[in-house]
Protein backbone atom coordinates (compact mmCIF):
# COMPACT_ATOMS: atom_id res chain seq x y z
CA UNK A 1 0.00 0.00 0.00
CA UNK A 2 2.83 2.32 0.86
CA UNK A 3 3.68 3.23 -2.65
CA UNK A 4 0.17 3.26 -4.02
CA UNK A 5 -0.26 5.76 -6.81
CA UNK A 6 -3.06 7.53 -4.98
CA UNK A 7 -0.92 8.28 -1.97
CA UNK A 8 1.87 9.38 -4.22
CA UNK A 9 -0.52 11.77 -5.90
CA UNK A 10 -1.66 13.38 -2.66
CA UNK A 11 1.87 13.63 -1.37
CA UNK A 12 2.82 15.45 -4.52
CA UNK A 13 -0.19 17.69 -4.04
CA UNK A 14 0.86 18.44 -0.48
CA UNK A 15 4.25 19.64 -1.60
CA UNK A 16 2.84 21.46 -4.60
CA UNK A 17 5.05 24.31 -5.75
CA UNK A 18 3.24 27.44 -4.64
CA UNK A 19 4.11 29.14 -7.91
CA UNK A 20 1.52 26.95 -9.60
CA UNK A 21 -1.05 28.29 -7.12
CA UNK A 22 0.05 31.82 -7.96
CA UNK A 23 -0.33 31.23 -11.68
CA UNK A 24 -3.82 29.74 -11.41
CA UNK A 25 -4.93 32.67 -9.25
CA UNK A 26 -3.57 35.15 -11.77
CA UNK A 27 -5.57 33.52 -14.57
CA UNK A 28 -8.72 33.37 -12.42
CA UNK A 29 -8.61 37.10 -11.74
CA UNK A 30 -7.38 38.32 -15.12
CA UNK A 31 -9.82 36.46 -17.36
CA UNK A 32 -13.12 37.64 -15.79
CA UNK A 33 -11.68 41.15 -15.66
CA UNK A 34 -10.95 41.06 -19.39
CA UNK A 35 -14.40 39.61 -20.16
CA UNK A 36 -15.88 42.59 -18.30
CA UNK A 37 -19.29 41.40 -17.11
CA UNK A 38 -21.03 42.19 -13.84
CA UNK A 39 -24.51 41.97 -12.33
CA UNK A 40 -26.15 44.01 -9.52
CA UNK A 41 -25.46 42.77 -6.01
CA UNK A 42 -28.34 42.78 -3.48
CA UNK A 43 -27.61 44.90 -0.40
CA UNK A 44 -26.81 43.53 3.06
CA UNK A 45 -27.96 45.26 6.28
CA UNK A 46 -24.74 47.19 7.14
CA UNK A 47 -24.63 48.72 3.65
CA UNK A 48 -28.36 49.44 3.75
CA UNK A 49 -27.80 51.25 7.07
CA UNK A 50 -25.05 53.38 5.55
CA UNK A 51 -27.34 54.17 2.64
CA UNK A 52 -30.17 55.03 5.06
CA UNK A 53 -27.89 57.36 7.00
CA UNK A 54 -27.20 59.39 3.86
CA UNK A 55 -30.82 59.03 2.81
CA UNK A 56 -31.89 60.62 6.11
CA UNK A 57 -30.17 63.89 5.15
CA UNK A 58 -32.19 66.75 3.77
CA UNK A 59 -31.29 69.27 1.12
CA UNK A 60 -28.82 71.76 2.56
CA UNK A 61 -27.59 69.43 5.30
CA UNK A 62 -23.85 68.98 5.56
CA UNK A 63 -22.08 65.69 5.01
CA UNK A 64 -18.41 65.61 5.88
CA UNK A 65 -16.37 63.23 3.75
CA UNK A 66 -13.03 62.06 5.08
CA UNK A 67 -10.39 60.64 2.75
CA UNK A 68 -8.40 58.32 5.00
CA UNK A 69 -6.80 56.10 2.40
CA UNK A 70 -4.15 56.31 -0.28
CA UNK A 71 -3.53 54.78 -3.67
CA UNK A 72 -2.99 51.30 -2.21
CA UNK A 73 -6.63 50.98 -1.19
CA UNK A 74 -8.12 53.01 -4.02
CA UNK A 75 -9.34 49.92 -5.92
CA UNK A 76 -11.67 49.14 -3.02
CA UNK A 77 -12.59 52.55 -1.67
CA UNK A 78 -12.86 54.67 -4.82
CA UNK A 79 -16.06 52.98 -6.06
CA UNK A 80 -17.67 53.61 -2.64
CA UNK A 81 -16.57 57.21 -2.58
CA UNK A 82 -18.09 57.74 -6.03
CA UNK A 83 -21.40 56.23 -4.94
CA UNK A 84 -21.57 58.16 -1.67
CA UNK A 85 -20.87 61.44 -3.47
CA UNK A 86 -23.50 60.65 -6.12
CA UNK A 87 -25.96 59.87 -3.38
CA UNK A 88 -25.25 63.10 -1.49
CA UNK A 89 -25.28 65.35 -4.55
CA UNK A 90 -28.49 63.80 -5.84
CA UNK A 91 -30.11 64.90 -2.57
CA UNK A 92 -28.58 68.39 -2.72
CA UNK A 93 -26.62 67.70 0.43
CA UNK A 94 -23.59 69.95 0.95
CA UNK A 95 -20.31 68.06 0.90
CA UNK A 96 -17.30 69.09 2.96
CA UNK A 97 -14.24 67.00 2.16
CA UNK A 98 -11.10 66.65 4.21
CA UNK A 99 -8.67 63.86 4.91
CA UNK A 100 -6.10 62.45 7.29
CA UNK A 101 -3.88 60.71 4.76
CA UNK A 102 -2.25 63.63 2.98
CA UNK A 103 -1.28 61.71 -0.09
CA UNK A 104 -4.74 60.25 -0.60
CA UNK A 105 -6.38 63.67 -0.80
CA UNK A 106 -5.56 64.36 -4.45
CA UNK A 107 -7.42 61.12 -5.24
CA UNK A 108 -10.42 62.24 -3.20
CA UNK A 109 -10.34 65.65 -4.79
CA UNK A 110 -10.37 64.24 -8.31
CA UNK A 111 -13.37 62.08 -7.45
CA UNK A 112 -15.15 65.04 -5.90
CA UNK A 113 -14.69 67.22 -8.98
CA UNK A 114 -15.70 64.40 -11.29
CA UNK A 115 -18.95 63.56 -9.50
CA UNK A 116 -19.82 67.19 -8.77
CA UNK A 117 -19.66 67.87 -12.50
CA UNK A 118 -22.16 65.07 -13.13
CA UNK A 119 -24.65 66.89 -10.91
CA UNK A 120 -23.78 70.44 -11.97
CA UNK A 121 -22.58 71.34 -8.52
CA UNK A 122 -20.45 74.38 -7.95
CA UNK A 123 -17.25 74.49 -5.93
CA UNK A 124 -17.53 76.65 -2.85
CA UNK A 125 -21.31 76.72 -3.02
CA UNK A 126 -22.31 73.06 -2.94
CA UNK A 127 -19.07 71.43 -1.94
CA UNK A 128 -15.64 72.24 -0.66
CA UNK A 129 -12.32 70.50 -0.15
CA UNK A 130 -10.70 71.62 3.09
CA UNK A 131 -7.59 69.60 2.44
CA UNK A 132 -5.21 68.15 4.96
CA UNK A 133 -3.84 69.31 8.28
CA UNK A 134 -1.24 67.25 10.13
CA UNK A 135 -1.94 65.42 13.38
CA UNK A 136 -5.23 63.59 13.00
CA UNK A 137 -6.30 63.43 16.63
CA UNK A 138 -5.46 67.12 17.07
CA UNK A 139 -7.50 67.98 13.98
CA UNK A 140 -10.47 65.89 15.10
CA UNK A 141 -10.58 67.40 18.56
CA UNK A 142 -10.15 70.96 17.27
CA UNK A 143 -13.11 70.60 14.89
CA UNK A 144 -15.35 69.87 17.86
CA UNK A 145 -14.78 73.45 18.97
CA UNK A 146 -14.40 75.39 15.79
CA UNK A 147 -13.55 74.10 12.34
CA UNK A 148 -11.97 77.40 11.36
CA UNK A 149 -9.50 77.03 14.25
CA UNK A 150 -7.76 74.32 12.29
CA UNK A 151 -8.99 74.91 8.73
CA UNK A 152 -8.78 78.66 8.30
CA UNK A 153 -8.95 78.14 4.55
CA UNK A 154 -9.74 75.46 2.01
CA UNK A 155 -7.14 73.38 0.14
CA UNK A 156 -6.17 76.25 -2.14
CA UNK A 157 -6.06 78.93 0.53
CA UNK A 158 -9.50 80.54 0.13
CA UNK A 159 -10.70 81.64 3.58
CA UNK A 160 -13.71 79.62 4.74
CA UNK A 161 -15.68 82.81 5.37
CA UNK A 162 -15.63 83.43 1.62
CA UNK A 163 -17.16 80.05 0.81
CA UNK A 164 -20.97 80.05 0.91
CA UNK A 165 -21.02 76.29 1.42
CA UNK A 166 -19.54 76.82 4.87
CA UNK A 167 -22.32 79.19 5.98
CA UNK A 168 -23.40 78.14 9.43
CA UNK A 169 -20.88 75.31 9.55
CA UNK A 170 -18.73 75.87 12.59
CA UNK A 171 -18.26 72.60 14.42
CA UNK A 172 -19.55 69.04 14.54
CA UNK A 173 -22.84 70.54 15.74
CA UNK A 174 -23.49 71.68 12.19
CA UNK A 175 -22.44 68.49 10.47
CA UNK A 176 -25.30 66.07 10.11
CA UNK A 177 -23.20 63.10 9.04
CA UNK A 178 -19.59 62.09 8.69
CA UNK A 179 -18.85 59.59 5.92
CA UNK A 180 -15.30 58.33 6.28
CA UNK A 181 -13.39 56.18 3.80
CA UNK A 182 -10.91 54.17 5.77
CA UNK A 183 -8.03 51.83 5.15
CA UNK A 184 -6.41 51.94 8.55
CA UNK A 185 -6.54 53.02 12.15
CA UNK A 186 -8.01 56.49 11.45
CA UNK A 187 -11.49 54.99 11.83
CA UNK A 188 -10.64 54.10 15.44
CA UNK A 189 -9.67 57.70 16.11
CA UNK A 190 -12.86 59.01 14.50
CA UNK A 191 -14.92 56.75 16.75
CA UNK A 192 -12.84 56.98 19.91
CA UNK A 193 -12.43 60.74 19.78
CA UNK A 194 -15.04 62.40 17.56
CA UNK A 195 -17.93 60.04 18.22
CA UNK A 196 -17.14 59.39 21.87
CA UNK A 197 -16.53 63.04 22.74
CA UNK A 198 -18.89 64.95 20.48
CA UNK A 199 -21.59 62.41 19.64
CA UNK A 200 -21.06 62.97 15.93
CA UNK A 201 -23.24 60.78 13.66
CA UNK A 202 -20.94 58.77 11.45
CA UNK A 203 -20.90 56.03 8.87
CA UNK A 204 -17.96 54.45 7.09
CA UNK A 205 -16.75 52.81 3.96
CA UNK A 206 -13.80 50.57 4.75
CA UNK A 207 -11.55 48.06 3.07
CA UNK A 208 -12.64 44.48 3.60
CA UNK A 209 -9.71 44.15 6.02
CA UNK A 210 -10.91 46.88 8.32
CA UNK A 211 -14.60 45.95 8.13
CA UNK A 212 -14.60 43.08 10.67
CA UNK A 213 -12.97 45.40 13.21
CA UNK A 214 -15.69 47.98 12.61
CA UNK A 215 -18.55 45.55 13.33
CA UNK A 216 -18.35 46.06 17.12
CA UNK A 217 -18.76 49.82 16.56
CA UNK A 218 -21.78 49.18 14.35
CA UNK A 219 -23.42 46.85 16.85
CA UNK A 220 -22.73 49.26 19.70
CA UNK A 221 -24.41 52.04 17.74
CA UNK A 222 -21.21 54.11 17.73
CA UNK A 223 -21.42 54.17 13.94
CA UNK A 224 -24.56 54.03 11.83
CA UNK A 225 -23.57 52.03 8.79
CA UNK A 226 -20.71 50.16 7.20
CA UNK A 227 -19.79 49.61 3.57
CA UNK A 228 -17.18 46.83 3.58
CA UNK A 229 -14.89 46.05 0.68
CA UNK A 230 -15.60 45.77 -3.02
CA UNK A 231 -18.80 43.83 -2.37
CA UNK A 232 -20.10 46.62 -0.14
CA UNK A 233 -19.22 49.07 -2.90
CA UNK A 234 -21.16 46.98 -5.41
CA UNK A 235 -24.14 46.86 -3.05
CA UNK A 236 -24.11 50.62 -2.60
CA UNK A 237 -23.91 51.06 -6.36
CA UNK A 238 -26.99 48.87 -6.62
CA UNK A 239 -28.84 50.90 -3.96
CA UNK A 240 -28.29 54.21 -5.72
CA UNK A 241 -28.98 52.60 -9.07
CA UNK A 242 -25.67 53.52 -10.66
CA UNK A 243 -23.41 50.51 -11.32
CA UNK A 244 -19.67 51.13 -11.49
CA UNK A 245 -16.26 49.60 -10.86
CA UNK A 246 -17.43 47.83 -7.73
CA UNK A 247 -19.96 45.75 -9.61
CA UNK A 248 -17.51 45.22 -12.44
CA UNK A 249 -14.88 43.66 -10.19
CA UNK A 250 -17.26 41.17 -8.63
CA UNK A 251 -16.97 38.37 -11.26
CA UNK A 252 -13.19 38.31 -10.75
CA UNK A 253 -13.84 38.25 -7.00
CA UNK A 254 -16.24 35.36 -7.43
CA UNK A 255 -13.75 33.22 -9.33
CA UNK A 256 -10.91 34.03 -6.98
CA UNK A 257 -13.07 33.12 -3.99
CA UNK A 258 -14.12 29.83 -5.56
CA UNK A 259 -10.50 29.09 -6.35
CA UNK A 260 -9.36 29.70 -2.78
CA UNK A 261 -12.24 27.56 -1.49
CA UNK A 262 -11.06 24.88 -3.92
CA UNK A 263 -7.51 25.18 -2.60
CA UNK A 264 -8.67 24.77 0.98
CA UNK A 265 -10.71 21.69 0.11
CA UNK A 266 -7.87 20.21 -1.94
CA UNK A 267 -5.33 20.95 0.77
CA UNK A 268 -7.51 19.17 3.30
CA UNK A 269 -8.11 16.16 1.08
CA UNK A 270 -4.36 15.84 0.68
CA UNK A 271 -3.89 16.15 4.42
CA UNK A 272 -6.64 13.59 5.07
CA UNK A 273 -5.37 10.93 2.67
CA UNK A 274 -1.68 11.18 3.47
CA UNK A 275 -2.35 11.16 7.21
CA UNK A 276 -4.63 8.09 7.08
CA UNK A 277 -2.33 6.03 4.97
CA UNK A 278 0.89 7.24 6.56
Amino acid sequence: MENSPRKGFWEAMNSLDRRIIFLILLVCVAVPLLLNVGAPIPPTPPVQLAYDAVESLEAGDVMMVSIDFDATSAPELMPMLHSALRHAFSKDVRVVMLGHIAIGLPLGHMALEEIAAEYDKEYGVDYVDLGYRPGYIAVMIAMGRDISDIFASDYQGTPLAELPVMTGVRSYNDIELLFGFEHGAVIDYWVRYTQARFGQRMTFGTTAVMAPDAYPYLQAGQIEGLVGGLKGAAEYENLIGHLGLGTRGMPAQQWAHLLVIGFIVLGNLGYFFTRRKG
Binding site: T72, P216, I264
Partner: protein, 210 residues
Protein backbone atom coordinates in the same frame (compact mmCIF):
# COMPACT_ATOMS: atom_id res chain seq x y z
CA UNK B 1 20.51 62.95 35.26
CA UNK B 2 20.78 60.25 32.60
CA UNK B 3 17.86 58.25 33.92
CA UNK B 4 15.84 60.43 36.24
CA UNK B 5 15.22 63.32 33.84
CA UNK B 6 13.67 61.09 31.16
CA UNK B 7 11.54 59.38 33.80
CA UNK B 8 10.29 62.75 35.00
CA UNK B 9 9.56 63.88 31.44
CA UNK B 10 7.54 60.75 30.74
CA UNK B 11 5.68 61.05 34.01
CA UNK B 12 4.76 64.71 33.53
CA UNK B 13 3.70 64.30 29.90
CA UNK B 14 1.56 61.26 30.56
CA UNK B 15 0.11 62.57 33.80
CA UNK B 16 -0.89 65.95 32.39
CA UNK B 17 -2.49 64.33 29.35
CA UNK B 18 -4.69 62.28 31.65
CA UNK B 19 -5.53 65.33 33.75
CA UNK B 20 -6.31 67.36 30.63
CA UNK B 21 -8.85 64.74 29.63
CA UNK B 22 -10.91 65.37 32.76
CA UNK B 23 -10.25 69.06 33.37
CA UNK B 24 -11.51 71.39 30.66
CA UNK B 25 -10.47 74.49 32.62
CA UNK B 26 -7.40 76.39 31.55
CA UNK B 27 -4.55 75.63 31.31
CA UNK B 28 -5.39 71.93 31.05
CA UNK B 29 -8.14 71.98 28.44
CA UNK B 30 -5.86 73.05 25.63
CA UNK B 31 -2.90 71.05 26.79
CA UNK B 32 -3.77 67.88 24.92
CA UNK B 33 -3.93 69.78 21.66
CA UNK B 34 -0.64 71.48 22.31
CA UNK B 35 1.19 68.31 23.30
CA UNK B 36 -0.05 66.51 20.20
CA UNK B 37 1.43 69.23 18.01
CA UNK B 38 4.69 69.02 19.95
CA UNK B 39 4.69 65.29 19.50
CA UNK B 40 4.39 65.67 15.73
CA UNK B 41 7.29 68.13 15.67
CA UNK B 42 9.59 65.94 17.76
CA UNK B 43 8.76 62.87 15.63
CA UNK B 44 9.55 64.90 12.53
CA UNK B 45 13.14 65.52 13.61
CA UNK B 46 13.75 61.85 14.23
CA UNK B 47 13.30 61.20 10.52
CA UNK B 48 16.80 62.66 10.07
CA UNK B 49 18.24 59.94 12.29
CA UNK B 50 16.71 57.25 10.13
CA UNK B 51 17.86 58.77 6.87
CA UNK B 52 21.34 59.22 8.31
CA UNK B 53 21.49 55.56 9.31
CA UNK B 54 20.29 54.46 5.88
CA UNK B 55 22.80 56.62 4.01
CA UNK B 56 25.72 55.58 6.22
CA UNK B 57 25.09 51.87 5.98
CA UNK B 58 24.75 51.95 2.21
CA UNK B 59 27.67 54.32 1.73
CA UNK B 60 29.71 51.81 3.74
CA UNK B 61 28.57 49.00 1.47
CA UNK B 62 29.55 50.97 -1.61
CA UNK B 63 32.93 51.98 -0.16
CA UNK B 64 33.77 48.38 0.71
CA UNK B 65 32.21 47.08 -2.54
CA UNK B 66 30.31 44.53 -0.46
CA UNK B 67 27.92 42.20 -2.29
CA UNK B 68 25.03 44.17 -3.68
CA UNK B 69 26.86 47.50 -3.61
CA UNK B 70 25.34 48.31 -6.98
CA UNK B 71 21.91 48.13 -5.42
CA UNK B 72 23.04 50.47 -2.71
CA UNK B 73 23.84 53.00 -5.42
CA UNK B 74 20.30 52.61 -6.81
CA UNK B 75 18.91 53.11 -3.30
CA UNK B 76 20.89 56.26 -2.65
CA UNK B 77 20.13 57.63 -6.13
CA UNK B 78 16.42 57.09 -5.50
CA UNK B 79 16.68 58.89 -2.18
CA UNK B 80 18.62 61.85 -3.54
CA UNK B 81 16.48 62.30 -6.67
CA UNK B 82 13.27 62.22 -4.64
CA UNK B 83 14.49 64.81 -2.18
CA UNK B 84 15.80 67.03 -5.00
CA UNK B 85 12.52 66.98 -6.97
CA UNK B 86 10.69 67.66 -3.73
CA UNK B 87 12.74 70.77 -3.13
CA UNK B 88 12.33 71.82 -6.79
CA UNK B 89 8.56 71.44 -6.45
CA UNK B 90 8.62 73.57 -3.35
CA UNK B 91 10.73 76.36 -4.80
CA UNK B 92 8.89 76.51 -8.12
CA UNK B 93 5.27 75.81 -7.16
CA UNK B 94 5.14 76.51 -3.46
CA UNK B 95 4.58 72.88 -2.48
CA UNK B 96 6.18 69.58 -3.47
CA UNK B 97 2.65 68.15 -3.43
CA UNK B 98 1.36 70.50 -6.11
CA UNK B 99 -0.27 68.54 -8.89
CA UNK B 100 2.35 69.67 -11.46
CA UNK B 101 5.33 69.20 -9.19
CA UNK B 102 8.01 66.74 -10.41
CA UNK B 103 7.72 65.21 -6.95
CA UNK B 104 4.21 64.09 -7.79
CA UNK B 105 5.59 62.42 -10.93
CA UNK B 106 7.84 60.31 -8.72
CA UNK B 107 4.90 59.62 -6.43
CA UNK B 108 2.47 58.64 -9.18
CA UNK B 109 4.78 56.60 -11.38
CA UNK B 110 7.22 55.11 -8.91
CA UNK B 111 5.80 54.99 -5.39
CA UNK B 112 2.16 54.18 -6.24
CA UNK B 113 2.92 51.21 -8.53
CA UNK B 114 5.55 49.86 -6.13
CA UNK B 115 3.25 50.26 -3.16
CA UNK B 116 0.23 48.91 -5.01
CA UNK B 117 2.07 45.89 -6.34
CA UNK B 118 3.71 45.04 -3.01
CA UNK B 119 0.21 45.19 -1.57
CA UNK B 120 -1.21 43.08 -4.40
CA UNK B 121 1.27 40.29 -3.57
CA UNK B 122 -1.11 39.61 -0.70
CA UNK B 123 -3.67 38.16 -3.10
CA UNK B 124 -1.16 35.45 -3.99
CA UNK B 125 0.06 34.86 -0.46
CA UNK B 126 -3.46 34.55 0.90
CA UNK B 127 -4.08 31.83 -1.71
CA UNK B 128 -0.92 29.89 -0.84
CA UNK B 129 -1.52 30.34 2.90
CA UNK B 130 -5.04 28.98 2.61
CA UNK B 131 -3.76 25.99 0.65
CA UNK B 132 -1.09 25.02 3.14
CA UNK B 133 -2.33 26.32 6.50
CA UNK B 134 -6.07 25.70 6.62
CA UNK B 135 -5.95 22.07 7.66
CA UNK B 136 -8.56 20.37 9.81
CA UNK B 137 -5.92 19.22 12.31
CA UNK B 138 -8.24 19.37 15.33
CA UNK B 139 -11.67 20.62 16.37
CA UNK B 140 -10.58 24.22 16.80
CA UNK B 141 -8.76 24.35 13.46
CA UNK B 142 -11.79 22.77 11.80
CA UNK B 143 -14.02 25.52 13.16
CA UNK B 144 -11.67 28.15 11.79
CA UNK B 145 -11.79 26.46 8.42
CA UNK B 146 -15.56 26.11 8.31
CA UNK B 147 -16.23 29.69 9.32
CA UNK B 148 -13.77 30.89 6.68
CA UNK B 149 -15.50 28.78 4.01
CA UNK B 150 -18.98 30.01 4.94
CA UNK B 151 -17.92 33.64 4.97
CA UNK B 152 -16.16 33.29 1.60
CA UNK B 153 -19.22 31.71 0.03
CA UNK B 154 -21.50 34.26 1.65
CA UNK B 155 -19.53 37.11 0.13
CA UNK B 156 -19.96 36.10 -3.51
CA UNK B 157 -23.08 35.99 -5.67
CA UNK B 158 -22.82 32.26 -6.34
CA UNK B 159 -23.13 31.55 -2.61
CA UNK B 160 -26.51 33.27 -2.58
CA UNK B 161 -27.44 31.39 -5.75
CA UNK B 162 -26.71 28.04 -4.09
CA UNK B 163 -28.68 28.89 -0.96
CA UNK B 164 -29.84 31.90 0.99
CA UNK B 165 -28.12 30.23 3.90
CA UNK B 166 -24.66 31.48 2.91
CA UNK B 167 -25.19 35.25 2.85
CA UNK B 168 -27.38 35.03 5.96
CA UNK B 169 -24.88 32.82 7.79
CA UNK B 170 -22.05 35.11 6.73
CA UNK B 171 -23.81 38.12 8.22
CA UNK B 172 -24.62 36.18 11.38
CA UNK B 173 -21.06 34.96 11.88
CA UNK B 174 -19.74 38.49 11.38
CA UNK B 175 -22.41 39.97 13.68
CA UNK B 176 -22.33 37.49 16.52
CA UNK B 177 -19.39 35.12 17.15
CA UNK B 178 -16.87 37.14 15.16
CA UNK B 179 -17.87 40.32 16.90
CA UNK B 180 -17.94 38.68 20.33
CA UNK B 181 -14.38 37.39 20.07
CA UNK B 182 -13.06 40.64 18.58
CA UNK B 183 -14.68 42.53 21.43
CA UNK B 184 -13.22 40.19 24.02
CA UNK B 185 -9.73 40.35 22.52
CA UNK B 186 -9.87 44.11 22.19
CA UNK B 187 -11.15 44.71 25.72
CA UNK B 188 -8.28 42.56 26.97
CA UNK B 189 -5.78 44.34 24.73
CA UNK B 190 -7.15 47.73 25.77
CA UNK B 191 -6.68 46.81 29.44
CA UNK B 192 -3.20 45.54 28.64
CA UNK B 193 -2.44 48.84 26.94
CA UNK B 194 -3.82 50.83 29.87
CA UNK B 195 -1.74 48.79 32.28
CA UNK B 196 1.40 49.20 30.17
CA UNK B 197 0.74 52.95 29.89
CA UNK B 198 0.30 53.19 33.64
CA UNK B 199 3.56 51.32 34.27
CA UNK B 200 5.30 53.65 31.84
CA UNK B 201 3.95 56.79 33.47
CA UNK B 202 4.90 55.51 36.91
CA UNK B 203 8.37 54.66 35.66
CA UNK B 204 8.03 50.92 36.33
CA UNK B 205 8.28 49.92 32.68
CA UNK B 206 11.47 51.50 31.42
CA UNK B 207 12.76 49.17 28.75
CA UNK B 208 12.73 52.11 26.34
CA UNK B 209 15.43 53.77 28.43
CA UNK B 210 17.87 50.89 28.64
Amino acid sequence: MKRSVPLIITFLTGFFLVVAFFVPHEPFGELEQRLLVWFAIVSGFTMLLGIDNLIRSHARRIARTNTGWGHSIVLLMGLVVTVVVGVIGFSRLGSPFHIHSPFMFVYTHVIVPLQGTMFALLAFFIASASYRAFRARNTVATLLLISALIVMLGRIPIGAAISDFFPAAQEWIMDVPQLAAKRGIQIGAALGAVSMSLRIILGIERSYLS
